[in-house]
Every structure is written in C-alpha cells, then in structure tokens.
Symmetry: C2
Subunit: 360 residues, 2 copies
C-alpha cells in the first residue's frame, strides 16, 4: 500500500527544522484564532485571541468587530486617529500600560527603540520593537553570510555567538552579522553598518558584499508571532581575516567547515530564527543538494513562505465589494447608501464605533 | 489617503512577469473549477472542468464524485486497477482516443515519451509527456545557468535559442541548458547528460557544476496546467568557451551581459516557463537587488510558490477522518462499519463505483 510507503519515508532533520521555524505557518493558521490587524484600512498584522482579549479593554483605541463584507473578525486601530503621530501615541500608551501590568512576556523586553509599521512601504505608525510579535507585524532584517574558501577544508562559514546580555536569544549561535532594519537606513546600508559594528569588517572587504535574495518564514514562540523576512548577503573573506566585535553584542566568532555548520544549526544552541539564512546559503552553494536531501524542494518552499500574500485583508475586502456591486449593479449613489447602511448596522463587539464623519 | 498611494505604486516589469508565469497560482485557484486527481488515494494532479467533461465519458476509468469526508469534488483513477502497468495501460488507451478526436491541443504534441507520475517519490503510473498539463501533474526539470565573469562586461550569461522544429516553444530563447527529468536518471545526472547533448559541455568543465536550489511556479496556457519545479545549477565557464549543439534541438547560443539578459527575458521571444530560472540567477548573483527592485520580496516568493502544499488531498482527508473519529470516539470495529457505510452511500456522479472488495 502506498500509504505504508509514505509513513516509512522519514522526515529529515532539515525538514523538521524547517517545520520548527515555520510552526505558525504550518499549524497556527489552521486553528483559526487569529484576526487581521488593520490600520487605515490596510492589514499590517495578525493578532491571536489571547492578545485580543487584552486589547478588548481599550475600546477607545481598538475596534474589534466582524467585517460587514468579508464576515471575518478583525481588529482595527481607531480610524478616528488623525495621523501617524496620534496613532503612534495612542498605541504606545496602551503598550506601556500592558507592560506595567506584566501580562505579556514580550513586553518585558521593552527596547525604547521603535519599529516602523508600514503597508506597502507607506509608514502608518511606529511601535516599540518588543511589541511587534503581539501584533504579528512583519519584521525585516539583514544577514551576512561570511565565508572562506579554504584550500583543504573547502567552504567554511563564520558564525557569531550572541552576547549573554542580549535581550533576545542570549548566548545562542547566529549568522556572522545580522540586524533589523532601522528607520532611515537602507537595506544594504544596514548590512554595511552592522558589518562594522558587529564584526569590524573594514570597508575594503565589505565592498565585496553580494546581495543574494531573501528568506521568509513564520515562527511562533511564547513571545508571539514572527513573520520574518531576512535580506541575505554573501561576503567572501580572505583566509587570514578574523572578525572581532565592536559593540558588545557578540561574545565569540568561530569559523566552521560547511558540514560542521549544518550540525551546529541542528543543536538547541542555534537561534531558531537564524537557521533559514544558513540553510539557504548551504543550498545556494551546493552543500545541501537534491542528491543528499530527500525533502529538498519542500525545504526550499519553506524558506520562502508567501508572507506577502497572508496580509491581504484589503484586497479581499475590495474583492467582496466588487462582487456585491456586480450582483446588485446599483448606481453610484445607491452604492453609497448601501455602504452607509451596512456601516451603521455593523456588529460592534467592544462598543467602539467609527465617528459618522469617517463612516461615509 | 493610503489607498491612493498604493494605486500609485506601479507594478514593476519583473513583478508583472512573475505574475505571468504564476497566472494559475494567482488566478486559477480562485475560480474553483478544479478538482484533485487521485491515484491509489494519493493526489497526483489537479484537473480543470473542461478536461473533467471529457473524462466523464470514461466511467470505467475515472470515478468523478464528491468525497464523503471532505465534501470536495474529486477525480479518481479507478481504484480497481491492480498495479502500475494496468493503470498505465488503461489511462494510455483513453489518452490515445482523446488525441485521435483532436479535442485537446496539448495531445497534438504527443511525444511517445513517458512521464512518471509519482506521489512522494513512489511511481504510480506513467503517461505521455504531452498529457501532463491536462491532469495538472507536477513536472520536474533541470536547468543550467552557464555564465562568464567578463573582465570588462561583468557577469555575462549564455542563452540558447530553441530549434524551430521543437514541439514546445519553437524558436524561443531559453536557458543555456535545460530538460525534463527522465525515468532512470538522477537530477545531477540529467543536468550532465543535457549539458553534453544540448551544449557539448565537456566533462572537465561540467565537473564545476554547482547545485543552487530550485524554483517553483504554477503557469497555465492553452495547453493546460504547468505546476513546475526546476532544479537549478550554476556553471562558470571560461571566457573562450563557446557552446555548440549536438542534438538538433538548439539553433543558436548567445552570450549576453546581465543587464541585456534581463531585457531579453521581458521580450515575447523568451520561453515564459524559463524566466523564473534566469530571474533567480540574477537575484542570487546580486544583479537584481532590493535597492533596484521595489517588489524584491514579492518576486522571490513568486519564484518559490508552495506547490508541495497544493497537492495535499490525502492529508486533508486524514484530518477529516481524525476529526470525525474524535467527535464520535467509536471502537475500531464501529469505525470500520462507518467507513463501509459511508463508502457504500457515496455520491456517484458518473455511475462508477469501487468494487466491494476494494471498498473495505
């Protein structure tokens, strides 16, 4: 029987790891206890029910309701907030209160460092970096694979060990250089800045940086949701170069032959959310191949999960409205009346409503 | 208004091209006129309604019905067929008849060359290569990016122009070397074989072949569905090497600087289903970057669409059965009775039924 054969095909360690850093993509969605988070009608996040329960206590900031068109449950930042700074300020106040109550472990890592929340490159507000996992906001970072072509050991990779004092993943092994995108810095610019701060890579070496794509995955931990995209860069280094840390965020660097690097990635000492970058590097450089990895195509798909198509509430809403319009074909005036009617009758779950001037 | 900003963000030529070779992934699914194609309980394809209409005339070969558990419409190859050769023979007979009737243009390109239809590396039957688009069977191929590091022109890429006599995409520009996986050949082995046949690459050069991952996309044309995965290899070639064809399938080779290569890919003279391999190469080698391509992350996701999770009818069925079992918690004997009962009462759309011995 074919099913017996399937059961005998053992999942490889690499596939299991790809499942681990995509635990939310593969399991969380099915459970269905998440809602889109909307700011100015655009979906910027996904929020789980445990977080919604707390946000429900702030009806002046969050509107938690079912969409009148898509019938889907949504969480909306009060659309009456006028601009970027008002949205930022109102959200920040709630987050600081939640932090002081000690409800979410994510907020115990408060950074006093803001993350820009955007919809298609358009900044809508900023929130403390520690809070993004609660709202399932997509995070973007850069990573540099520092490597050496060793005459006897072949392809070798530089890894860093994170400082024990770091807020996240202290003491874990990680890519040679990595960091989140910050306000005002470009992608390559961030990579160059981090290369100098984390590994003291001089400018005559960093000029060899090669952009090599990105990885995307959707991880969940006790801290919340991590729908992450990492822009990856490769940097070939001379045999005699040794990185050393300049900002106190790294406690060690180690050069490992590719095969040993794979083994390191499988240990619990490696930062889970940095594994995709290493695996992608080893695939692009012919170390992990379809001949030595049975689940090659599955793993590559799990290094590029479609995050950009999971935040499409606005498109679904537009589609619903279009369908409704096609069915009834009313004049523009009639459609506006329908819009108004539906808006006024919408199901309000936490007593919050749009002001009348915004509803039309 | 943010929506006005969105509308102003013009889709780039690259993103439009990624939409083009994923036209079925992005649009076809929503229309919902497709059904899983099952062989031995495993999903091996997706069939559109125009094809189902024809298969419906062969109730002794295809069972077209709604699944009793998932409630989804399915097309099943008669489960009474005993083995690989009987399944192959019965399907082949239908395909030859459909071909003689001239109903499907895909079958006008009949190859007398078989393609292995597998479920998780397990061969279930073989069908003529020309027929796979009608059944939405996933196809796997290999592609070699032949490139040169030119002292003045930088990264240059060898392209081939397909012979005007080829059955598919005659006269179109294509990757230097490419071909479908054939029965009995491994992935790298196929790449080496094709490199010799298509471009006369000698063994001392082909030994530098580097496995670099795969691309996956879901294209639809008048011929049918193309859920394709291409294993990609990079091959750096010496400046003075010029490929020449040995099997009559190529009419020209041309070496193009990377920038000109991008322009060629945008022309209608380039084989649509080969574009993903070129784009992936240009991304991995730092030519297309997040700085020069606004839709960088979207494009990379569209080079790796989750084909491996679109053919999961069996997993959904198992999940449904598990849910049903959890709800009722009957003993094993009772469950077998339920299975039998449900099977006997299933909705038959074309009068075909499983023989009683197979149903239990």
């Amino acid at each position: 029987m074919s099913s017996a054969v399937d059961a005998n095909v053992k999942l490889s360690r690499l596939l299991l790891l790809a499942h681990k850093f995509n635990n939310f993509y593969l399991n969380g969605f099915q459970k269905g206890d998440i809602r889109p988070f909307l700011v100015e009608g655009q979906q910027v996040g996904l929020i789980k029910s445990d977080v919604i329960k707390q946000l429900n206590k702030y009806p002046e900031v969050f509107c938690i309701r079912d969409c009148e068109y898509t019938k889907q449950g949504i969480v909306e930042l009060n659309p009456a907030f006028r601009d970027y700074s008002e949205r930022t300020e109102k959200l920040d106040k709630v987050l600081r209160e939640l932090r002081s109550k000690g409800i979410f472990s994510a907020l115990q890592g408060w950074r006093e460092e803001y993350y820009e929340v955007k919809a298609e490159h358009n900044s809508l507000l900023k929130m403390d970096r520690s809070a993004t996992p609660l709202f399932g906001v997509r995070k973007y970072g850069v990573d540099i694979n520092g490597y050496v072509k060793h005459p006897t050991q072949g392809l070798c990779i530089w890894l860093q060990q994170r400082s024990n004092t770091k807020e996240t993943w202290p003491g874990k092994w990680d890519n040679m250089v990595g960091g989140g995108l910050s306000v005002g810095y470009g992608i390559k610019e961030t990579a160059i800045k981090e290369a100098a701060e984390e590994a003291s890579i001089p400018s005559d070496l960093v000029k060899n940086l090669v952009s090599a794509g990105c990885v995307s995955f959707f991880f969940e931990s006790e801290q919340g949701l991590f729908p992450n995209t990492e822009y990856v860069f490769d940097l070939e280094l001379p045999l005699d170069f040794v990185p050393h840390n300049a900002d106190g965020e790294v406690q060690a660097f180690e050069l490992l032959p590719a095969k040993e690097c794979i083994e390191r990635v499988f240990t619990p000492d490696f930062k889970t959310t940095s594994c995709p970058v290493v695996i992608d590097f080893l695939i692009r450089h012919g170390i992990i191949t379809p001949e030595n990895e049975f689940w090659f195509t599955q793993i590559i798909e799990l290094l590029h999960v479609p995050l950009q198509s999971l935040y499409t509430y606005k498109q679904r809403l537009d589609e619903c409205k279009k369908q409704l319009q096609l069915q009834s074909q009313p004049s523009t005036d009639q459609q506006q009346s329908i819009d108004k009617l539906v808006t006024n009758n919408k199901i309000i779950e936490n007593g919050h409503n749009k002001p009348a001037t915004e509803a039309n």
